[in-house]
């Protein structure tokens, strides 16, 4: 008996849940007043939240979860006994448009197992994107997971229809990729990322006549790394992301704590890495991109190259570099204010604006929205000085949760 659409959707969304990205932001602004359906207006919208705390912005599905590859960490690997299904391109288009019309989603995030060959699979994915964009005038967001081995022309066409392209590097080191994803090659993945970046740069050049070429993946490319499946330290992971941001101009690197999967491979570790590790990596990633921190600074606090799970990385850095504190909020440079625990980029912006008008006091910072519980030992203000607090021996204990609570995380 053929499977109903509902049954297929159950299998193919279940199979897609291990992809962390659900971003729908950062693309061109467009709407449907001149025909078609849909709009994108800069910021993404999360239409729902699942009880795992993750946002649901896109219809995130696999075209099929049949796969000829045997990647140990993947629920869809060829040697797994998970139930299999396959959407027709028409079904994917139908689901996307009907969900979109009811305002359930911002668009489509399409990924797929490799069927027949990388080219054949990529061709079907591009066909779906083309049907949506050209056939139905769909103006919503499309994210395509690119298959690294697929032909150049297919990736080129994918970039014309999709807002974002992504290729997962999967694991932080080449050795780990070789061990767990024998059919994937880190070099091919790098080549594919490089190709997308080159095409994106080319799409920004005007011709002699001043004409712009069509946009290519305007929301950029992203990737995902599984954390905790191999023995890589946080320093290895973060160095790898720095390289990815630098070499390929990636918009985002997603970290996915290795999650136990049904019918898992015997190759994988049985212990689940704490979710808080993933959280700390995201915090560190943010510090590198928006706060001017380097990988070495962030990971220097502990000798083993991992982040402190009990403290956020900025606080851990400040505790390890107390000789730089306290900072005088009224006069300090922006770069130094950004390094104060409890001050975010927005807070710092507001401090810089407000201190031109007044001498800042405790109450002012509170109104501005600074986290003074964290900031107090590291700043001086009018009528506030931390005194010996900055250098007191038990400062760490003020922030770190008591040891017995750690086991719960």
């Amino acid at each position: 008996m053929p499977m109903s659409l509902n049954e297929k959707l159950a299998i193919l969304s279940d199979a897609a849940r291990y992809d962390a990205s659900c971003a729908s932001s950062g693309t061109t602004r467009r709407d449907s007043r001149k025909g078609g359906l849909g709009s994108t207006e800069g910021s993404g919208i999360c239409h729902a939240y699942a009880p795992d705390g993750r946002c649901i912005s896109l219809l995130k599905i696999l075209m099929t979860n049949f796969c000829i590859y045997d990647c140990a960490y993947c629920v869809n690997r060829v040697s797994s006994n998970t139930p299999r299904a396959r959407f027709t391109p028409e079904e994917v288009v139908h689901l996307t448009l009907e969900f979109y019309r009811r305002n359930y989603i911002e668009g489509l995030f399409l990924s797929s197992g490799i069927i027949r060959s990388p080219d054949a699979t990529m061709e079907d994915m591009v066909r779906i994107a083309r049907m949506l964009r050209v056939g139905h005038g769909f103006k919503g967001y499309i994210h395509l997971k690119t298959i690294p081995d697929a032909a150049q022309e297919l990736i080129d066409e994918a970039g014309l229809h999709a807002d974002r392209l992504s290729i997962n590097v999967e694991l932080p080191t080449e050795q780990a990729v070789r061990a767990f994803a024998p059919e994937k090659s880190p070099a091919t993945i790098r080549t594919a990322m490089d190709r997308v970046q080159t095409r994106r740069a080319a799409a920004k050049d005007r011709s002699h006549g001043g004409k712009r070429p069509p946009k290519f993946a305007p929301a950029g490319q992203s990737t995902q790394m599984i954390v905790g499946a191999d023995g890589s330290t946080d320093r290895t992971v973060l160095s790898q992301s720095t390289r990815l941001y630098g070499s390929f101009g990636l918009k985002r690197v997603y970290y996915s704590a290795f999650s136990p999967i049904p019918d898992s491979s015997a190759l994988l570790p049985l212990i689940r890495p704490p979710l808080v590790r993933e959280h700390r990596l995201y915090q560190a990633d943010w510090l590198m991109r928006f706060y001017g921190f380097g990988v070495d600074e962030i990971t220097a606090a502990r000798p083993d190259g991992n982040l402190d799970l009990a403290l956020d990385p900025k606080l851990a850095w400040a505790l390890a570099n107390r000789h730089l504190f306290p900072v005088r909020v009224q006069t300090a440079e922006r770069e130094m204010l950004l390094r104060v625990p409890g001050f975010g980029t927005k807070t710092v912006g507001r401090i810089l604006a407000a201190r031109r008008h007044r001498t800042l006091a405790w109450e002012d910072l509170k109104r501005i929205g600074a986290n003074l519980k964290n900031a107090a030992p590291f700043i001086t203000l009018r009528h506030w000085s931390p005194g010996t607090l900055t250098d007191s021996a038990d400062l760490r204990a003020r922030f770190a949760p008591p040891a017995e609570q750690l086991s719960l995380l």
Binding site: N81, R102, N103
Partner: protein, 478 residues
């Protein structure tokens, strides 16, 4: 002088423009904030000034208000706080004296307004996110029609409706709230009075959406507070997917436990078939020699520390015999060709003596990169580990698929492990053919094993046995 109170009544629809006009008028007249009584929800749009005995317009001041304030006011007027108009006007009054006030991010009055602005923005954002349309029967125009009921915290439908008009331009739709109703028909957006919660027809798409919501959820990482902070419970009763939430949370732990308890299963039959096709004679992914060499050249652009470059095999593309060694050595890595060093020379010599034409065989290695540790100027050979053998197999399988040899001669433990899955008991297994997924494999020792034997007598014996093995291979192929 006693303050005479002036009542300003603002309409429910078009509140933003009405407040701006009234504020401009009163500021121009110099009406002090404490003299104004602001009221919302007047039925008619025209009745801007409730006080019938308005003082005659005085000399209008030239009013310049920072643009940032206009943007702020345009948002704050939609807040549910009844004090919002008065707060805005009081701040505007101070702003007229001191225009720089708008940039003093620590001013209590401004902080409060910014807070209200944030509330409205968030409310509008949540409306964009959580409005759920239901399909209703198409009207006479043939356009598809949808309807939604929503209960926003602030009065955000009016400023947010244009977003839906831009997004859903090709549909007719209604969004009803207790406050006002937005209607989009044939591309025109209109507003009317609010309504009771309507009885909307069932929509089959909600079941599919529920299925999606339940299956995209990962039971291994429940974080309820992260969900409720972004999707507060007050919205749940109008979200069709929310009825699944209690069940998902309740069942999550059991699902994870069941997942962990289930023993790893054996791969399905299909897996072996696909793996074989991928590795062997499959037509889909087999690269030709040229593509394989290109791929190797690509990989060789970046050579990891402690490894040499990838050295592929060589020999006739249709050779009946494939000879597989361990990994390239120092000489092979420098030459970029397999079996040109001491081991290769021994092989050449013994093959000739055994009557085996080495040049008619395709010669390659189980692992493609020389692995070494640097000691002074010398690069000392290191045996490959399991991972490296695994990785080399990708290349080897491609070579086997291309050459399709009638017999594979595996020399040494690494080649045996790569081709038969096991290296144990090699000395007992040597000299025989084993049937494998990759075809018949003849096992023998590696020439370097002979080269390393310190005892000349044993070396001689072993060389002879090696020669016998090669002769046996020649006989098998004949």
């Amino acid at each position: 002088m006693a303050v005479r109170m002036i009542t300003v009544s603002l309409p429910r629809i078009g509140t933003d423009r009405a407040w701006r006009d009234a504020a401009r008028t009163h500021l121009g007249r110099g009406t002090r904030p404490e003299a104004l009584l602001w009221q919302a929800g007047a039925p008619a749009q025209t009745d801007l000034f409730g006080a019938p005995d308005m003082p005659a317009p005085g000399t209008a001041h030239a009013l310049t208000v920072p643009r940032a304030f206009l943007d702020l006011a345009r948002t704050v007027v939609w807040h549910a706080d009844p004090e919002r108009f008065a707060r805005l006007y009081a701040f505007l009054w101070r702003l007229a004296e001191r225009p720089a006030l708008i940039r003093d991010t620590a001013d209590p009055g401004l902080v409060r307004l910014r807070q209200m602005e944030k509330n409205v923005r968030r409310c509008a954002h949540k409306m964009k996110a959580f409005v759920r349309f239901r399909d209703i029967a198409p009207g006479s125009t043939g356009r598809r029609r949808f309807a939604a009921w929503f209960e926003p915290t602030h009065h955000t439908l009016e400023p947010t409706a244009p977003f839906f008009a831009r997004r859903f331009a090709d549909m007719d739709w209604i969004i009803a709230t207790p406050d006002i109703t937005a209607r989009h028909e044939n591309g025109t957006l209109t507003f009317g009075p609010g309504a009771q919660k309507p009885d909307l027809p069932q929509d089959a798409a909600e079941e599919l959406w529920g299925t999606y919501f339940c299956n995209i959820f990962n039971p291994a990482r429940v974080k309820v507070s992260a969900m409720t902070s972004e999707m507060p419970r007050k919205y749940w009763h109008n979200l069709p997917e929310a009825r699944h939430i209690p069940g998902l949370i309740a069942g999550a732990e059991a699902r994870v436990r069941e997942m962990a308890a289930r023993a790893p299963t054996l791969p399905p039959v299909r897996a072996a078939r696909i793996a074989e096709r991928l590795a062997g004679t499959g037509v889909d992914r087999v690269m030709d020699f040229e593509a394989l060499h290109r791929r190797a050249a690509e990989e060789n652009r970046e050579v990891p520390d402690g490894y040499g470059r990838i050295v592929l095999g060589e020999g006739p593309g249709d050779a009946p015999l494939m000879i597989v060694g361990e990994q390239p050595g120092d000489a092979e890595d420098r030459a970029g060709r397999p079996f040109v060093g001491p081991s290769g020379q021994l092989l050449d010599r013994e093959a000739a003596a055994a009557g085996l034409d080495r040049s008619a065989a395709y010669v390659t290695n189980a692992v493609k990169r020389f692995k070494f540790v640097q000691r002074g100027k010398r690069r000392l050979h290191q045996p490959p580990d399991r991972t490296e053998i695994e990785h080399g197999r990708w290349w080897l399988d491609h070579e086997i698929a291309l050459v399709r040899p009638r017999l594979i001669l595996a020399m040494g433990g690494t080649a045996a492990e790569s081709l038969t899955g096991s290296r144990t008991g090699l000395l007992k297994r040597r000299g025989r053919i084993e049937e494998t997924d990759r075809g018949p494999v003849f096992l023998t020792v590696h020439p370097s094993y002979i080269l390393r034997l310190p005892d000349p007598a044993r070396k001689k014996d072993e060389t002879e046995r090696f020669r016998e093995d090669l002769a046996e291979v020649a006989r098998t192929l004949a």
